[in-house]
């Protein structure tokens, strides 16, 4: 278990993904309308790849900006009728500090 301080909560805009390069991996943080923060890998599960940070955010989901897959930000699952899995990271918050645990 490694806990990495990524950013300040205040710096995260609502519903617009922010990309952080951590240990060579691109991770996107999404601050949802309910205030919670979610983290996923910035890589579409579509066979052709692509990024996810520019996707449209709705509730607990993000839509892949390139292929329009609907992806759960809670468990990383692609919603039916499509299939796939995105890597997710758990997020911890200590006041204004946002950490990723992996």
């Amino acid at each position: 278990m490694k806990k990495t301080l990524v950013t300040e909560y205040q710096s995260l805009p609502e519903r617009v993904g922010q990309v952080f390069r951590v240990d060579g991996v691109e991770i996107v943080l999404f601050r949802l309308s309910n205030g919670e923060v979610r983290a996923i890998e910035n890589r579409s599960p579509h066979p052709k790849g692509g990024t996810l940070s520019e996707g449209l955010v709705s509730g607990e989901f993000v839509y892949c900006p390139v292929y329009d897959l609907k992806i759960s930000l809670t468990d990383g699952k692609v919603q039916a009728p499509d299939e796939g899995q995105v890597k997710i990271f758990s997020v911890e918050r200590d006041n204004d500090q946002v950490f990723i645990v992996k």
Partner: protein, 808 residues
């Protein structure tokens, strides 16, 4: 043979319908002159309620355009009242002193709002509810003032009150009687109506008689007979109407409450007829269009010298055009010892039905909350069908809970009335569909008149079309939900936005009960577009409801990099700009520099973090190669260099691109300008393609070079480039206001028909209004690349990637 001279006083619904009927029977028989003292051509007065409610604009309710009068050689004088009929000289005299002779004269002056003769009734802020001017006054007042009082709880009063609520006013409705609409509803239905309207926000003050209007120059309140007072900044009198009979009576025509006519609409003066709300027939003066149109038909037939049945009076059915209220009433409404009635009252679902039976025949109908049975019951009432053999269940087919199938068009009898306003039966509509190959509600309207008045019957007409045509019925015309988040269609959503005055994507989803609270990639961009279209320069764009390319102002590529395509107006560039592009390509190591299919240069493979500085170094405008907006205007070299060129194609192309760039459109829009029919700029496959010819320009529309290849249709040939720009502006705005989001002009024109668009845009005033709205919208746009360069917040929010130092 010289034509007979026909003059008509009054340019309203009943009169003009009579003329339309005459033109159908004997198009060449008369030389027609019409006087109207409003400044407009004939419009649909019934729809004033929707204008006031914000659903429709004044242009939308015009029924007969200026062209219509011109095309039929009708001499129309607007803003001019007739003040005298001289029966000796057989001429009419107007307030401007104009004299026009007649062989036959029709009086169709309608009626005016009855203004209570109480002290203060002449103060500023007091109005009736009758014409466009009244509506405009109310809309204007609502912008400055807060409190409205509507006197009268009848049909008109309640529709006015609903409109004023929509305009954001607080509304008191003052009614003299203990029940609303007491002439159409029994107390039970009336109470249900009152509850519904209270829930919508109306406040009712019942059993109060207004005796004085308070205030100095402008109204400030009302006083009632019991001495109580309320505050009000606007007073709408909706206590009744008074037939306009003055001209007739002063000219010696016999007048009682209205202008008295016989069964052929003839007045007491030879060769003079009256029709519409100003006429009194067998002691009845009607205030709804259905009977007036019947009168018009009899009069038209008679004037054309064709044998006709006399007009013998009408029984009318009414409803209320207020959203959330479904009611129908006809004939008697209250029981007496000689009647028997069937009553169903389902309080849980808010449904109430009463059918009154006298001498084994239906003599009255009151339906509230579910009006499916109305047309069938109304037909039984009109035909005086004997119901003694029927059970109550079969009389009220759809039962108490709205579960029955009586509205199923398949089981509807051919002689059942579909459009009450115009007396059109199902049989007539089906026949017109079959013999004239009709495919849309609008076409059925223009052939049969069905649906052209209050519009209530339009959904039924649509069902009949679907039933008659089966699979052939345009699927797109049928209701399709915007996306899985809602059951509402595009049109319904747009109507709700206007009616409820919604102003943000979030609010729309909230108020209209979206299933997925924050929407999806189908509805969010669409709503953002519709709001921007409706609210013009008032709307604040919701960037996060746009999809990636429009959000980032660049096209995303499969590896997450972007392409950058700057504007190159009309495909014309300079050595200096080319140098700049080359330098940027070198500095950022751009993997691909390519001429695009749109006559400009693209830089492909730029990383997201570099976008702002690439733009800054270029110092050029965004070419919007990514947007649902104007893409490119391709041009040929044209008259400046080419030996065949007849026009300055580059000049016009650049002008078009500069005028329309950045405008949000339902889908992308492309243009091309060539200077001769060789068409080197491929104008034939553009949304708007312009081709120069000797002494003018041809404008082609709705071409497409993409997935569904389609050649453009010639829309107009004009002399000057200003006319080209004006026509494109009007067409573009009409497309913006009516197409579904993501519908190219090609598919849209296929759907609505080129003739329809031509017809709408034939009217100069309509074109002007469209261009005005377009210009207003164009004012709001900023250049997005320079906005990004200047705004750190935007840069941080959308274009940064941050490295996180990892502590070892």
């Amino acid at each position: 043979m010289s034509k007979k001279k026909l003059v008509m006083i009054g340019n309203g619904m009943a009169g003009v319908r009579t003329i339309e009927d005459m033109l159908k029977i004997a198009p060449e028989a008369f030389e027609i002159t019409i006087f109207g003292n409003e400044p407009h051509p004939n419009y649909n007065r019934i729809q004033l309620s929707t204008v006031l409610q914000g659903d429709t604009t004044v242009e939308d309710i015009i029924m007969n355009s200026w062209e219509w009068y011109r095309d039929h050689d009708i001499q129309l004088f607007t803003n001019e009242a007739i003040v005298k009929i001289d029966s000796e000289a057989k001429q009419v005299i107007s307030d401007k002193g104009r004299k026009v002779e007649y062989d036959e004269l029709i009086i169709a002056t309608g009626s005016s709002s009855f203004i209570l003769p109480i002290p203060g009734a002449d103060k500023k802020g007091v109005t009736g509810f009758r014409d466009i001017q009244d509506c405009e006054m109310m809309i204007k007042t609502a912008k400055e003032y807060k409190r409205a009082a509507v006197i009268g709880g009848g049909l008109l009063g309640l529709e006015a009150a609903r409109g004023l609520l929509n305009l954001g006013m607080e509304v008191d409705v003052i009614h003299l009687m203990p029940h609303l609409m007491e002439r159409q509803l029994d107390p039970t239905a009336s109470n249900m109506l009152k509850e519904e309207l209270e829930a919508q926000g109306m406040n009712f003050i019942m059993e109060k008689q207004t005796t004085e209007i308070l205030g100095d120059e402008r109204v400030t309140g009302l006083r009632f007979s019991d001495g109580k007072e309320i505050a009000a900044d606007l007073v709408v009198m909706a206590v009744g109407i008074r037939p306009n009979v003055q001209v007739a009576s002063e000219s010696g025509i016999y007048v009682n409450r209205g202008i008295v006519v016989d069964d052929y609409m003839q007045t007491s003066m030879p060769n003079v007829y009256a029709v519409g709300e100003c006429a009194e027939h067998r002691e009845m003066v009607y205030g709804l269009v259905a009977p007036l149109y019947e009168q018009g038909k009899v009069l038209a037939t008679k004037l054309c010298g064709v044998e006709t049945k006399p007009y013998e009076g009408s029984i009318v059915g009414t409803g209320l055009k207020v959203s959330g209220v479904d009611l129908f009433s006809a004939g008697e409404i209250n029981d007496d010892p000689k009647t028997k009635s069937i009553k169903v009252h389902n309080e849980f679902d808010g449904v109430y039905k009463k059918v009154i039976i006298r001498d084994n025949k239906i003599s009255g109908i009151v339906l509230y909350g579910d009006t499916k049975d109305s047309s069938r019951l109304f037909r039984m009432l009109l035909k005086k069908e004997d119901v003694s053999g029927m059970t109550s269940v079969s009389i009220l087919e759809s039962g108490c809970c709205g579960g029955g199938e009586s509205s199923d068009v398949a089981t509807m009898a051919a002689d059942e009335i579909v459009c009450g306003c115009n007396g059109v039966t199902k049989g007539t509509i089906v026949e017109a569909i079959q013999t004239k190959d009709l495919t849309s509600v609008e076409e059925v309207g223009s052939c049969t008149n069905a649906g052209r008045s209050c519009g209530r019957c339009k959904s039924l007409i649509s069902d009949i079309l679907a039933h008659a045509l089966g699979d052939k019925y345009d699927v797109a015309a049928k209701k399709t939900a915007l996306c899985g988040c809602t059951t509402l269609s595009r049109d319904e959503v747009v109507a709700e936005i206007k009616q409820k005055g919604l102003t943000s994507v979030k609010e729309v989803m909230n108020v209209l009960g979206w299933k997925q609270e924050e929407g999806c990639t189908k509805c969010r961009p669409a709503l953002n577009y519709y709001l921007g279209m409706i609210l013009q320069d008032q709307y604040k764009d919701d960037r996060d409801s746009r999809l990636v390319n429009e959000k980032m102002h660049a096209n995303i590529q499969k590896d997450g990099t972007y392409s950058v395509i700057p504007r190159m107006y009309g495909g014309v560039t300079s050595a200096q700009d080319l140098k700049k592009i080359a330098e940027v390509a070198e500095k950022y190591d751009v993997p691909l520099v390519k001429l695009t299919g749109g006559q400009r240069i693209g830089l492909y493979g730029v990383s997201k973090e570099d976008l702002p500085s690439v733009w800054e170094d270029l110092g050029m405008q965004s070419g919007y190669a990514y947007g649902k907006t104007l893409r490119t205007v391709k041009t040929c070299v044209g008259a400046k260099f080419c030996r065949y060129g007849t026009q300055d194609s580059m000049g016009l192309g650049i002008e078009l691109e500069k005028k329309f760039e950045r405008l949000d459109t339902p889908h992308k829009v492309k243009m091309g300008v060539s200077a001769c029919p060789r068409n080197c700029a491929e104008s034939g496959i553009k949304d708007f393609g312009v081709v120069g010819i000797d002494g003018g320009w041809e404008l082609y529309v709705a071409g497409n070079g993409g997935t569904d290849l389609r050649a453009g249709d010639l829309f107009a040939t004009v002399k000057t480039k200003d006319e080209v720009i004006e026509l494109i502006g009007a067409f573009l705005q009409y497309y913006r206001e009516n197409a579904n989001y993501l519908e190219r002009t090609s598919t849209w024109v296929e759907r609505v028909g080129l003739d329809h668009v031509k017809e709408v845009l034939a009217d100069e005033q309509t074109r002007k209004a469209l261009n005005d709205r377009l210009d207003k919208t164009l004012e709001k746009y900023n250049e997005p690349w320079s906005e990004t360069i200047e705004n750190k917040e935007i840069k941080d929010k959308y274009y940064q990637k941050r490295d996180v130092p990892v502590l070892v």
